[in-house]
Symmetry: C2
Subunit: 248 residues, 2 copies
Protein backbone atom coordinates (compact mmCIF):
# COMPACT_ATOMS: atom_id res chain seq x y z
CA UNK A 1 0.00 0.00 0.00
CA UNK A 2 1.43 3.31 -1.03
CA UNK A 3 1.96 6.15 1.40
CA UNK A 4 -0.23 8.13 -0.97
CA UNK A 5 -3.22 6.08 0.02
CA UNK A 6 -2.96 6.94 3.68
CA UNK A 7 -2.33 10.54 2.75
CA UNK A 8 -5.50 10.47 0.67
CA UNK A 9 -7.48 9.04 3.56
CA UNK A 10 -6.07 11.56 6.03
CA UNK A 11 -6.72 14.60 3.92
CA UNK A 12 -10.11 13.80 2.46
CA UNK A 13 -12.28 12.95 5.45
CA UNK A 14 -14.36 16.11 5.32
CA UNK A 15 -14.85 16.00 1.57
CA UNK A 16 -16.82 12.77 1.86
CA UNK A 17 -19.98 11.50 3.45
CA UNK A 18 -19.03 9.58 6.56
CA UNK A 19 -19.65 5.85 6.94
CA UNK A 20 -21.24 5.57 3.52
CA UNK A 21 -19.68 4.09 0.39
CA UNK A 22 -20.53 2.82 -3.08
CA UNK A 23 -19.47 -0.59 -4.42
CA UNK A 24 -19.93 -1.58 -8.05
CA UNK A 25 -20.54 -4.98 -9.60
CA UNK A 26 -19.52 -4.38 -13.23
CA UNK A 27 -20.76 -7.14 -15.54
CA UNK A 28 -19.32 -7.89 -18.95
CA UNK A 29 -20.01 -10.69 -21.42
CA UNK A 30 -17.51 -12.46 -23.65
CA UNK A 31 -17.04 -15.95 -25.10
CA UNK A 32 -20.44 -17.01 -23.76
CA UNK A 33 -19.39 -16.12 -20.24
CA UNK A 34 -20.77 -13.53 -17.86
CA UNK A 35 -17.82 -11.78 -16.22
CA UNK A 36 -17.19 -9.35 -13.38
CA UNK A 37 -14.49 -6.68 -13.19
CA UNK A 38 -12.33 -7.13 -10.09
CA UNK A 39 -9.27 -5.11 -9.11
CA UNK A 40 -6.58 -6.69 -7.00
CA UNK A 41 -5.53 -4.20 -4.36
CA UNK A 42 -1.98 -3.09 -3.82
CA UNK A 43 -1.83 -4.41 -0.26
CA UNK A 44 0.35 -6.94 1.48
CA UNK A 45 -0.93 -10.33 0.34
CA UNK A 46 -3.58 -10.96 -2.27
CA UNK A 47 -6.68 -8.89 -1.68
CA UNK A 48 -9.49 -8.62 -4.21
CA UNK A 49 -12.34 -6.18 -3.82
CA UNK A 50 -15.15 -4.78 -5.92
CA UNK A 51 -14.43 -1.36 -7.42
CA UNK A 52 -15.74 1.06 -4.85
CA UNK A 53 -15.24 4.40 -3.23
CA UNK A 54 -16.55 7.17 -1.09
CA UNK A 55 -19.24 9.73 -1.90
CA UNK A 56 -18.17 13.34 -2.15
CA UNK A 57 -20.31 15.92 -0.37
CA UNK A 58 -20.69 17.66 -3.73
CA UNK A 59 -21.92 14.70 -5.79
CA UNK A 60 -25.06 12.58 -5.77
CA UNK A 61 -24.80 8.87 -5.06
CA UNK A 62 -25.40 8.13 -8.77
CA UNK A 63 -22.61 10.54 -9.73
CA UNK A 64 -20.27 8.80 -7.29
CA UNK A 65 -21.06 5.42 -8.88
CA UNK A 66 -20.51 6.82 -12.39
CA UNK A 67 -17.20 8.34 -11.35
CA UNK A 68 -16.01 5.06 -9.84
CA UNK A 69 -17.01 3.16 -12.98
CA UNK A 70 -15.44 5.63 -15.38
CA UNK A 71 -12.21 5.64 -13.39
CA UNK A 72 -11.78 1.86 -13.93
CA UNK A 73 -13.32 1.41 -17.39
CA UNK A 74 -12.82 4.71 -19.19
CA UNK A 75 -16.47 4.76 -20.29
CA UNK A 76 -19.49 6.73 -19.14
CA UNK A 77 -22.44 5.60 -21.19
CA UNK A 78 -23.21 2.35 -19.46
CA UNK A 79 -26.20 0.80 -17.81
CA UNK A 80 -25.97 1.50 -14.10
CA UNK A 81 -28.50 0.79 -11.40
CA UNK A 82 -28.65 0.55 -7.62
CA UNK A 83 -29.53 -2.92 -6.46
CA UNK A 84 -29.20 -3.08 -2.66
CA UNK A 85 -27.77 -1.41 0.44
CA UNK A 86 -25.52 -3.41 2.75
CA UNK A 87 -25.82 -2.12 6.27
CA UNK A 88 -24.94 -4.66 8.94
CA UNK A 89 -23.37 -3.15 12.05
CA UNK A 90 -20.11 -5.10 11.66
CA UNK A 91 -19.34 -3.91 8.12
CA UNK A 92 -15.90 -2.37 8.58
CA UNK A 93 -12.41 -2.48 7.10
CA UNK A 94 -10.83 -2.37 10.53
CA UNK A 95 -9.71 -6.00 10.50
CA UNK A 96 -8.21 -5.65 7.04
CA UNK A 97 -6.19 -2.60 8.03
CA UNK A 98 -5.14 -4.13 11.33
CA UNK A 99 -3.86 -7.19 9.46
CA UNK A 100 -1.94 -4.98 7.08
CA UNK A 101 -0.26 -3.08 9.90
CA UNK A 102 0.50 -6.32 11.76
CA UNK A 103 2.12 -7.86 8.70
CA UNK A 104 4.27 -4.80 8.18
CA UNK A 105 5.16 -3.25 11.54
CA UNK A 106 7.22 -0.51 9.91
CA UNK A 107 4.32 0.78 7.91
CA UNK A 108 2.61 2.81 10.59
CA UNK A 109 5.79 4.73 11.23
CA UNK A 110 6.67 5.14 7.56
CA UNK A 111 3.43 6.87 6.84
CA UNK A 112 3.36 8.75 10.13
CA UNK A 113 0.13 6.95 10.78
CA UNK A 114 -1.92 8.31 13.59
CA UNK A 115 -5.22 6.76 14.66
CA UNK A 116 -6.94 10.05 13.92
CA UNK A 117 -5.60 9.98 10.39
CA UNK A 118 -7.43 6.93 9.24
CA UNK A 119 -9.94 6.26 11.97
CA UNK A 120 -12.82 7.43 9.80
CA UNK A 121 -12.25 4.76 7.15
CA UNK A 122 -12.17 1.95 9.71
CA UNK A 123 -15.55 2.78 11.19
CA UNK A 124 -18.71 0.92 10.28
CA UNK A 125 -19.58 1.59 6.63
CA UNK A 126 -22.97 1.27 4.98
CA UNK A 127 -22.46 0.54 1.29
CA UNK A 128 -24.77 1.16 -1.63
CA UNK A 129 -24.42 -1.58 -4.24
CA UNK A 130 -24.67 -0.60 -7.92
CA UNK A 131 -24.52 -2.97 -10.82
CA UNK A 132 -23.40 -2.01 -14.31
CA UNK A 133 -23.51 -3.63 -17.73
CA UNK A 134 -20.72 -2.71 -20.10
CA UNK A 135 -19.61 -3.58 -23.59
CA UNK A 136 -16.23 -5.15 -22.82
CA UNK A 137 -14.89 -4.23 -26.25
CA UNK A 138 -15.29 -0.56 -25.43
CA UNK A 139 -13.70 -0.77 -22.01
CA UNK A 140 -10.12 0.36 -21.48
CA UNK A 141 -9.12 -1.13 -18.16
CA UNK A 142 -7.45 1.41 -15.93
CA UNK A 143 -5.62 0.54 -12.75
CA UNK A 144 -6.26 3.09 -10.09
CA UNK A 145 -3.58 4.36 -7.76
CA UNK A 146 -4.20 1.59 -5.26
CA UNK A 147 -4.69 -1.30 -7.70
CA UNK A 148 -2.01 -3.94 -8.28
CA UNK A 149 -3.98 -5.26 -11.25
CA UNK A 150 -7.48 -5.31 -12.65
CA UNK A 151 -9.15 -8.14 -14.59
CA UNK A 152 -12.39 -9.72 -15.76
CA UNK A 153 -13.35 -12.96 -14.00
CA UNK A 154 -16.16 -15.38 -14.92
CA UNK A 155 -18.92 -14.77 -12.39
CA UNK A 156 -18.76 -18.39 -11.21
CA UNK A 157 -14.97 -18.29 -10.72
CA UNK A 158 -14.25 -15.15 -8.72
CA UNK A 159 -11.26 -14.87 -6.41
CA UNK A 160 -11.96 -14.59 -2.70
CA UNK A 161 -13.36 -11.12 -2.10
CA UNK A 162 -13.07 -8.96 1.02
CA UNK A 163 -15.90 -8.25 3.47
CA UNK A 164 -19.34 -9.07 2.06
CA UNK A 165 -18.36 -8.41 -1.55
CA UNK A 166 -19.19 -11.97 -2.66
CA UNK A 167 -22.69 -11.50 -1.25
CA UNK A 168 -22.91 -8.24 -3.20
CA UNK A 169 -22.12 -10.11 -6.43
CA UNK A 170 -24.77 -12.72 -5.62
CA UNK A 171 -27.41 -10.04 -5.05
CA UNK A 172 -26.36 -8.14 -8.17
CA UNK A 173 -26.70 -11.30 -10.24
CA UNK A 174 -30.19 -11.94 -8.84
CA UNK A 175 -31.16 -8.40 -9.77
CA UNK A 176 -29.68 -8.78 -13.25
CA UNK A 177 -31.74 -11.94 -13.75
CA UNK A 178 -34.90 -10.12 -12.69
CA UNK A 179 -34.16 -7.09 -14.85
CA UNK A 180 -33.08 -9.02 -17.95
CA UNK A 181 -36.49 -10.65 -17.92
CA UNK A 182 -38.55 -7.59 -17.09
CA UNK A 183 -36.65 -4.65 -18.46
CA UNK A 184 -34.60 -6.39 -21.15
CA UNK A 185 -31.39 -4.81 -19.92
CA UNK A 186 -29.42 -7.68 -21.44
CA UNK A 187 -29.17 -5.88 -24.75
CA UNK A 188 -26.50 -3.72 -23.16
CA UNK A 189 -24.26 -6.80 -23.18
CA UNK A 190 -24.72 -7.60 -26.89
CA UNK A 191 -23.53 -5.90 -30.07
CA UNK A 192 -26.18 -3.84 -31.85
CA UNK A 193 -27.05 -6.69 -34.22
CA UNK A 194 -27.15 -10.26 -33.00
CA UNK A 195 -28.47 -13.67 -33.93
CA UNK A 196 -31.13 -15.51 -31.95
CA UNK A 197 -28.43 -17.97 -30.96
CA UNK A 198 -26.24 -15.19 -29.54
CA UNK A 199 -29.19 -13.86 -27.56
CA UNK A 200 -29.92 -17.33 -26.19
CA UNK A 201 -26.28 -17.88 -25.24
CA UNK A 202 -26.37 -14.61 -23.27
CA UNK A 203 -29.43 -15.78 -21.34
CA UNK A 204 -27.77 -19.13 -20.71
CA UNK A 205 -24.70 -17.36 -19.31
CA UNK A 206 -26.75 -15.06 -17.09
CA UNK A 207 -29.05 -17.78 -15.74
CA UNK A 208 -26.36 -20.46 -15.75
CA UNK A 209 -28.67 -23.03 -17.35
CA UNK A 210 -29.66 -24.12 -20.86
CA UNK A 211 -32.75 -22.73 -22.64
CA UNK A 212 -34.62 -24.87 -25.18
CA UNK A 213 -34.02 -23.33 -28.61
CA UNK A 214 -37.58 -23.20 -29.95
CA UNK A 215 -39.23 -22.09 -26.72
CA UNK A 216 -36.64 -19.39 -26.23
CA UNK A 217 -37.10 -18.02 -29.75
CA UNK A 218 -40.88 -17.98 -29.37
CA UNK A 219 -40.70 -16.26 -26.00
CA UNK A 220 -38.35 -13.57 -27.28
CA UNK A 221 -40.35 -12.89 -30.45
CA UNK A 222 -43.57 -12.74 -28.41
CA UNK A 223 -42.11 -9.84 -26.42
CA UNK A 224 -42.49 -7.72 -29.54
CA UNK A 225 -39.26 -5.78 -29.00
CA UNK A 226 -37.00 -7.53 -31.52
CA UNK A 227 -36.66 -6.19 -35.03
CA UNK A 228 -35.61 -8.78 -37.63
CA UNK A 229 -33.24 -7.37 -40.22
CA UNK A 230 -33.41 -8.27 -43.93
CA UNK A 231 -30.75 -10.59 -45.22
CA UNK A 232 -28.60 -9.19 -47.97
CA UNK A 233 -29.05 -11.01 -51.28
CA UNK A 234 -25.71 -12.58 -52.13
CA UNK A 235 -26.71 -14.83 -55.02
CA UNK A 236 -25.55 -17.87 -53.06
CA UNK A 237 -27.84 -20.12 -51.13
CA UNK A 238 -28.50 -17.99 -48.10
CA UNK A 239 -27.91 -20.10 -45.01
CA UNK A 240 -26.74 -17.29 -42.72
CA UNK A 241 -28.98 -16.84 -39.67
CA UNK A 242 -31.25 -13.85 -39.36
CA UNK A 243 -29.90 -10.87 -37.48
CA UNK A 244 -32.02 -9.02 -34.98
CA UNK A 245 -31.76 -5.77 -33.16
CA UNK A 246 -33.54 -4.34 -30.19
CA UNK A 247 -36.28 -1.89 -31.22
CA UNK A 248 -35.92 0.77 -28.52
Amino acid sequence: MAMDQFEFYRSSEHEHLQQLSVDCVIFGYQDQKLTVLIPKLDLIGDVWALPGGFIRQTESIDEAALRILASRTGINAIYLEQFRVFGETERSSRKLLDRLLRLNPGLAEQVALSPEGYEWITRRFVSIGYYALVDMRKVILKKQEFDASIDWYPVQELPELILDHQEMVTHALETLRLHIDRQLVGFNLLPEKFTMRELRELYEAVFDRPFARNNFQKKMLDLGVLERLEKKFTGAANRAPFLYRFAR
Copy 2:
Protein backbone atom coordinates in the same frame (compact mmCIF):
# COMPACT_ATOMS: atom_id res chain seq x y z
CA MET B 1 -42.60 21.37 17.64
CA ALA B 2 -41.80 20.36 21.16
CA MET B 3 -38.61 21.43 22.93
CA ASP B 4 -38.06 17.73 23.41
CA GLN B 5 -37.43 17.29 19.74
CA PHE B 6 -34.56 19.73 19.62
CA GLU B 7 -33.20 18.25 22.79
CA PHE B 8 -33.32 14.84 21.15
CA TYR B 9 -31.48 16.14 18.12
CA ARG B 10 -28.84 17.90 20.21
CA SER B 11 -28.08 14.99 22.43
CA SER B 12 -28.16 12.14 19.96
CA GLU B 13 -25.82 13.20 17.19
CA HIS B 14 -23.10 10.73 18.06
CA GLU B 15 -25.45 7.81 18.57
CA HIS B 16 -26.46 7.91 14.91
CA LEU B 17 -24.89 7.49 11.52
CA GLN B 18 -24.40 10.95 10.04
CA GLN B 19 -26.22 12.10 6.93
CA LEU B 20 -28.02 8.79 6.51
CA SER B 21 -31.67 8.07 7.27
CA VAL B 22 -34.43 5.55 6.66
CA ASP B 23 -37.88 6.42 5.29
CA CYS B 24 -40.72 3.91 5.18
CA VAL B 25 -43.62 3.61 2.77
CA ILE B 26 -46.08 1.47 4.75
CA PHE B 27 -48.82 0.03 2.56
CA GLY B 28 -52.15 -1.23 3.84
CA TYR B 29 -55.25 -2.45 2.00
CA GLN B 30 -58.86 -1.85 2.98
CA ASP B 31 -62.19 -1.41 1.19
CA GLN B 32 -60.55 -2.22 -2.15
CA LYS B 33 -58.08 0.63 -1.69
CA LEU B 34 -54.34 0.56 -1.38
CA THR B 35 -53.37 2.96 1.40
CA VAL B 36 -50.22 4.53 2.85
CA LEU B 37 -49.55 5.42 6.48
CA ILE B 38 -48.67 9.11 6.85
CA PRO B 39 -48.01 11.00 10.08
CA LYS B 40 -48.70 14.71 10.24
CA LEU B 41 -45.83 16.35 12.04
CA ASP B 42 -46.23 18.56 15.06
CA LEU B 43 -44.72 21.59 13.37
CA ILE B 44 -46.04 25.06 12.63
CA GLY B 45 -48.41 24.63 9.68
CA ASP B 46 -49.44 21.37 8.10
CA VAL B 47 -46.47 19.14 7.31
CA TRP B 48 -46.85 15.52 6.25
CA ALA B 49 -43.89 13.19 5.97
CA LEU B 50 -43.27 9.48 5.59
CA PRO B 51 -42.43 7.70 8.85
CA GLY B 52 -38.67 7.87 9.05
CA GLY B 53 -35.72 8.17 11.33
CA PHE B 54 -32.03 7.91 11.88
CA ILE B 55 -29.87 4.79 12.09
CA ARG B 56 -28.23 4.05 15.41
CA GLN B 57 -24.57 3.08 15.36
CA THR B 58 -25.57 -0.11 17.16
CA GLU B 59 -28.27 -1.32 14.76
CA SER B 60 -28.29 -2.52 11.16
CA ILE B 61 -30.24 -0.58 8.56
CA ASP B 62 -32.91 -3.32 8.55
CA GLU B 63 -33.20 -3.08 12.33
CA ALA B 64 -33.62 0.69 12.06
CA ALA B 65 -36.45 0.23 9.56
CA LEU B 66 -38.13 -2.39 11.76
CA ARG B 67 -37.87 -0.12 14.80
CA ILE B 68 -39.40 2.82 12.90
CA LEU B 69 -42.25 0.62 11.67
CA ALA B 70 -42.96 -0.93 15.04
CA SER B 71 -42.97 2.48 16.71
CA ARG B 72 -45.86 3.66 14.49
CA THR B 73 -47.79 0.40 13.97
CA GLY B 74 -47.14 -1.68 17.07
CA ILE B 75 -46.31 -4.74 14.95
CA ASN B 76 -43.09 -6.49 14.04
CA ALA B 77 -43.93 -9.38 11.78
CA ILE B 78 -44.51 -7.53 8.56
CA TYR B 79 -43.14 -7.69 5.08
CA LEU B 80 -40.35 -5.16 4.81
CA GLU B 81 -37.96 -4.58 1.94
CA GLN B 82 -35.54 -1.92 0.75
CA PHE B 83 -36.56 -0.45 -2.57
CA ARG B 84 -34.25 2.48 -3.38
CA VAL B 85 -31.74 4.97 -2.00
CA PHE B 86 -32.37 8.68 -2.48
CA GLY B 87 -29.09 10.54 -2.64
CA GLU B 88 -29.25 13.85 -4.49
CA THR B 89 -26.88 16.49 -3.14
CA GLU B 90 -29.70 18.91 -2.27
CA ARG B 91 -31.64 16.48 -0.03
CA SER B 92 -31.78 18.41 3.24
CA SER B 93 -34.27 19.58 5.86
CA ARG B 94 -32.58 22.95 6.17
CA LYS B 95 -35.33 24.87 4.37
CA LEU B 96 -38.03 23.24 6.46
CA LEU B 97 -36.27 24.12 9.72
CA ASP B 98 -35.47 27.63 8.54
CA ARG B 99 -39.15 28.16 7.73
CA LEU B 100 -40.14 26.88 11.13
CA LEU B 101 -37.77 29.24 12.90
CA ARG B 102 -38.84 32.15 10.72
CA LEU B 103 -42.52 31.54 11.48
CA ASN B 104 -41.83 31.38 15.18
CA PRO B 105 -39.01 33.76 16.08
CA GLY B 106 -39.26 32.92 19.77
CA LEU B 107 -38.55 29.28 19.18
CA ALA B 108 -34.81 29.43 18.78
CA GLU B 109 -34.47 31.16 22.10
CA GLN B 110 -36.99 28.95 23.89
CA VAL B 111 -35.03 25.85 23.07
CA ALA B 112 -31.66 27.55 23.55
CA LEU B 113 -31.02 26.61 19.97
CA SER B 114 -27.46 26.89 18.86
CA PRO B 115 -26.36 26.16 15.32
CA GLU B 116 -24.13 23.40 16.67
CA GLY B 117 -27.12 21.82 18.37
CA TYR B 118 -29.03 20.94 15.26
CA GLU B 119 -26.58 21.53 12.44
CA TRP B 120 -26.13 17.82 11.85
CA ILE B 121 -29.80 17.23 11.02
CA THR B 122 -29.87 20.05 8.48
CA ARG B 123 -26.98 18.70 6.44
CA ARG B 124 -27.45 16.73 3.26
CA PHE B 125 -29.10 13.38 4.04
CA VAL B 126 -29.01 10.23 1.96
CA SER B 127 -32.14 8.21 2.70
CA ILE B 128 -32.75 4.50 2.30
CA GLY B 129 -36.34 3.81 1.26
CA TYR B 130 -38.08 0.73 2.67
CA TYR B 131 -41.54 -0.41 1.82
CA ALA B 132 -43.73 -2.50 4.09
CA LEU B 133 -46.96 -4.43 3.72
CA VAL B 134 -49.11 -4.70 6.81
CA ASP B 135 -52.43 -6.15 7.80
CA MET B 136 -54.29 -2.97 8.76
CA ARG B 137 -56.56 -4.90 11.16
CA LYS B 138 -53.52 -5.82 13.26
CA VAL B 139 -52.04 -2.34 13.33
CA ILE B 140 -52.47 -0.14 16.38
CA LEU B 141 -51.60 3.33 15.17
CA LYS B 142 -49.23 5.08 17.53
CA LYS B 143 -48.43 8.75 17.35
CA GLN B 144 -44.81 9.35 18.08
CA GLU B 145 -43.58 12.21 20.21
CA PHE B 146 -43.38 14.57 17.24
CA ASP B 147 -46.59 13.53 15.45
CA ALA B 148 -49.72 15.69 15.54
CA SER B 149 -51.70 12.82 14.02
CA ILE B 150 -51.22 9.67 11.98
CA ASP B 151 -53.60 8.24 9.37
CA TRP B 152 -54.02 5.95 6.39
CA TYR B 153 -54.47 7.71 3.03
CA PRO B 154 -55.43 6.14 -0.32
CA VAL B 155 -52.22 6.00 -2.36
CA GLN B 156 -53.77 8.17 -5.09
CA GLU B 157 -54.93 10.84 -2.60
CA LEU B 158 -51.94 11.62 -0.41
CA PRO B 159 -51.47 15.01 1.22
CA GLU B 160 -48.54 17.11 0.03
CA LEU B 161 -45.40 15.48 1.40
CA ILE B 162 -42.09 17.11 2.32
CA LEU B 163 -38.85 16.83 0.37
CA ASP B 164 -38.88 13.98 -2.17
CA HIS B 165 -41.28 11.82 -0.17
CA GLN B 166 -43.91 11.75 -2.95
CA GLU B 167 -41.22 10.42 -5.30
CA MET B 168 -40.42 7.79 -2.69
CA VAL B 169 -44.04 6.63 -2.67
CA THR B 170 -44.04 6.46 -6.47
CA HIS B 171 -40.90 4.29 -6.50
CA ALA B 172 -42.24 2.11 -3.69
CA LEU B 173 -45.45 1.52 -5.64
CA GLU B 174 -43.47 0.55 -8.75
CA THR B 175 -41.49 -1.93 -6.69
CA LEU B 176 -44.65 -3.33 -5.11
CA ARG B 177 -46.11 -3.87 -8.59
CA LEU B 178 -42.97 -5.70 -9.68
CA HIS B 179 -42.81 -7.82 -6.53
CA ILE B 180 -46.51 -8.69 -6.42
CA ASP B 181 -46.10 -10.19 -9.85
CA ARG B 182 -42.79 -11.93 -9.28
CA GLN B 183 -42.67 -12.75 -5.61
CA LEU B 184 -46.38 -12.78 -4.80
CA VAL B 185 -45.91 -10.46 -1.85
CA GLY B 186 -49.52 -9.33 -2.19
CA PHE B 187 -50.68 -12.14 0.06
CA ASN B 188 -49.38 -10.10 2.97
CA LEU B 189 -52.23 -7.66 2.32
CA LEU B 190 -55.00 -10.29 2.39
CA PRO B 191 -56.52 -12.39 5.16
CA GLU B 192 -55.34 -15.99 5.25
CA LYS B 193 -58.34 -17.23 3.27
CA PHE B 194 -59.72 -15.21 0.41
CA THR B 195 -61.92 -15.52 -2.64
CA MET B 196 -60.66 -15.15 -6.19
CA ARG B 197 -62.65 -11.95 -6.37
CA GLU B 198 -60.89 -10.53 -3.31
CA LEU B 199 -57.52 -11.40 -4.84
CA ARG B 200 -58.48 -9.71 -8.10
CA GLU B 201 -59.68 -6.59 -6.28
CA LEU B 202 -56.32 -6.36 -4.54
CA TYR B 203 -54.49 -6.50 -7.88
CA GLU B 204 -56.84 -3.88 -9.27
CA ALA B 205 -56.08 -1.59 -6.32
CA VAL B 206 -52.32 -2.08 -6.63
CA PHE B 207 -52.19 -1.63 -10.41
CA ASP B 208 -54.97 0.96 -10.47
CA ARG B 209 -56.68 -0.73 -13.44
CA PRO B 210 -59.30 -3.46 -13.99
CA PHE B 211 -58.34 -7.09 -14.65
CA ALA B 212 -60.58 -9.32 -16.78
CA ARG B 213 -62.12 -11.90 -14.45
CA ASN B 214 -61.48 -15.10 -16.39
CA ASN B 215 -57.97 -14.22 -17.51
CA PHE B 216 -57.03 -13.20 -14.01
CA GLN B 217 -58.32 -16.44 -12.49
CA LYS B 218 -56.49 -18.52 -15.09
CA LYS B 219 -53.24 -16.60 -14.58
CA MET B 220 -53.39 -16.98 -10.81
CA LEU B 221 -54.25 -20.69 -10.90
CA ASP B 222 -51.48 -21.29 -13.45
CA LEU B 223 -48.95 -19.96 -10.92
CA GLY B 224 -49.56 -23.12 -8.93
CA VAL B 225 -49.31 -21.43 -5.54
CA LEU B 226 -52.98 -21.22 -4.62
CA GLU B 227 -54.60 -23.93 -2.58
CA ARG B 228 -58.36 -24.24 -3.07
CA LEU B 229 -60.15 -25.07 0.16
CA GLU B 230 -63.07 -27.50 0.36
CA LYS B 231 -66.48 -25.95 0.84
CA LYS B 232 -68.28 -27.01 3.95
CA PHE B 233 -71.41 -29.03 3.23
CA THR B 234 -74.32 -26.99 4.49
CA GLY B 235 -77.20 -28.88 2.97
CA ALA B 236 -78.32 -25.80 1.12
CA ALA B 237 -77.53 -25.13 -2.50
CA ASN B 238 -73.91 -24.12 -2.26
CA ARG B 239 -73.47 -20.84 -4.08
CA ALA B 240 -70.72 -19.44 -1.87
CA PRO B 241 -67.48 -18.82 -3.80
CA PHE B 242 -64.48 -21.02 -3.27
CA LEU B 243 -61.92 -19.87 -0.76
CA TYR B 244 -58.22 -20.05 -1.50
CA ARG B 245 -55.10 -19.72 0.51
CA PHE B 246 -51.49 -19.20 -0.40
CA ALA B 247 -49.51 -22.46 -0.27
CA ARG B 248 -46.19 -21.27 1.12
